[in-house]
Symmetry: C2
Subunit: 256 residues, 2 copies
């Protein structure tokens, strides 16, 4: 049997999603909590490997189980064994072909910026302070050039496991909330560090240090050195993963 | 000389604003940080005494100083000595009559609720989970009855220092953000525990356990026992304090 979990976490204290030898990760915490509930060790597979410090509202993970297990028990039992900065928000039994990463058709990431220098401690853990105004119209113009299928080599960090650097961007948006700016990007997948490199490069556009048109010229396999810096991890949140319909076996048991 | 600070804090680790003998408070942390900058001990006076666990985006405090001190130095020096969950966002020199509490003409508080049972760890520190849907139209109808000047005895916790239980409410609003509900209330002042008691009572209205009209009948000095429970502290944030114009001596030195 295959189960799907929707998992949210504050990434600040973790060395990312993926298990590591010398650092605590979300995957390890989740596997430890599941083991307490299921009385057996399980390996969970995430839809994406968020980097150290990156947050998630809707990370998706799957695992295999020989017998069925009640979904509400999975949710509440696992949360009981998790620290308060990781929460399972939903559990569903899926058809046996489901794979959190391979079945995914699209993902949404968000990035939160502030034009202020000093942030409220209520915002600071999830927001990057720019300390100067940015030109929202230019940000939107540059972001629109990302739409479609491109070679995103210029925005990929070394160490990703992808062979093909092409990805398709379905949508981008910039929303202003007071002095805050919220960027959202939806794509069929993202190379390692891609969203943060895009944001770092767009900030240069918003601050007038790079033209909006220059973004378009980076989308044909230019080297990483041609794009801007990688924006800090704590502004980034994995928001949602999208799957084709029909992969669910049971009606969703969501606690939300 | 009188200086005004705008202070934001995550209230979770603090026993409220006001200095106490056996617990750490925001006022104590702020006075300790100011002493390091000013090389003298100062007493700060807050616009309002937020309770244990209540957050602030725009708490206002004043203190007296014999000599002038550069505002930017005050902001950055004080923040250097503060833990990251308290931040001074602005400093201004005020006319000598300024008093953070007595000069205040109005305050805005917000309260954040979710209709979900399980919250993302990104929201949980600032949000109260209701676990069931509420009727937003009824909440708005009941909240409108609060407008104007009333005797709020039914919504006051014991231990407040006020003699007159009358307060004037200028505005209320409920905003939906996905499954979140954000309540805002603006008044000329609030009795101890008043916003949380109002929210606790409004929730009963939103859940159909009390009629909207019943709120109106509580506003003529009914005892505390007639109103609903006091909603949890961690959903409440002191957003802003309003003062009459003309109390500032220097142009504002805001880092935001």
């Amino acid at each position: 049997m295959v189960y799907r979990l929707i998992v949210s976490y504050n990434g600040a204290p973790y060395a990312g999603w993926q298990r590591q030898h010398n650092a605590m990760t979300v995957q390890q915490r989740l596997e430890e909590a599941l083991e307490l509930v299921l009385k057996q060790s399980v390996r969970v597979f995430g839809a994406g490997r968020t980097d150290a410090g990156v947050h998630a509202r809707g990370q998706v993970a799957h695992f295999h189980l020989a017998d069925s297990f009640p979904e509400q028990g999975l949710i509440h039992g696992t949360n009981h064994g998790l620290p308060s900065d990781i929460r399972v928000l939903a559990a569903e039994r899926m058809c046996s072909a489901f794979d959190a990463r391979k079945s995914a058709r699209a993902k949404t990431y968000s990035y939160r910026l502030s034009q202020l220098t000093l942030l409220s401690p209520l915002d600071a853990p999830y927001t990057v302070a720019l300390g100067q105004p940015v030109d929202l119209a230019e940000l939107r113009r540059a972001s629109a050039l990302l739409l479609g299928r491109h070679d995103f080599t210029a925005f990929a960090l070394a160490g990703g496991s992808h062979k093909d650097p092409h990805r398709r961007i379905f949508a981008t948006s910039w929303r202003r909330q007071g002095s805050m700016l919220l960027f959202r990007i939806v794509g069929d997948g993202f190379l390692r560090g891609m969203v943060r490199s895009i944001v770092g490069t767009l900030i240069e556009v918003g601050q007038g240090r790079r033209s909006a048109e220059a973004i378009g010229r980076l989308l044909n396999g230019q080297p990483r050195s041609e794009a801007g810096p990688t924006a800090p991890a704590h502004g980034l949140t994995m928001e949602r993963v999208y799957y084709p319909p029909g992969l669910t076996m049971t009606p969703p048991h969501r606690a939300w």
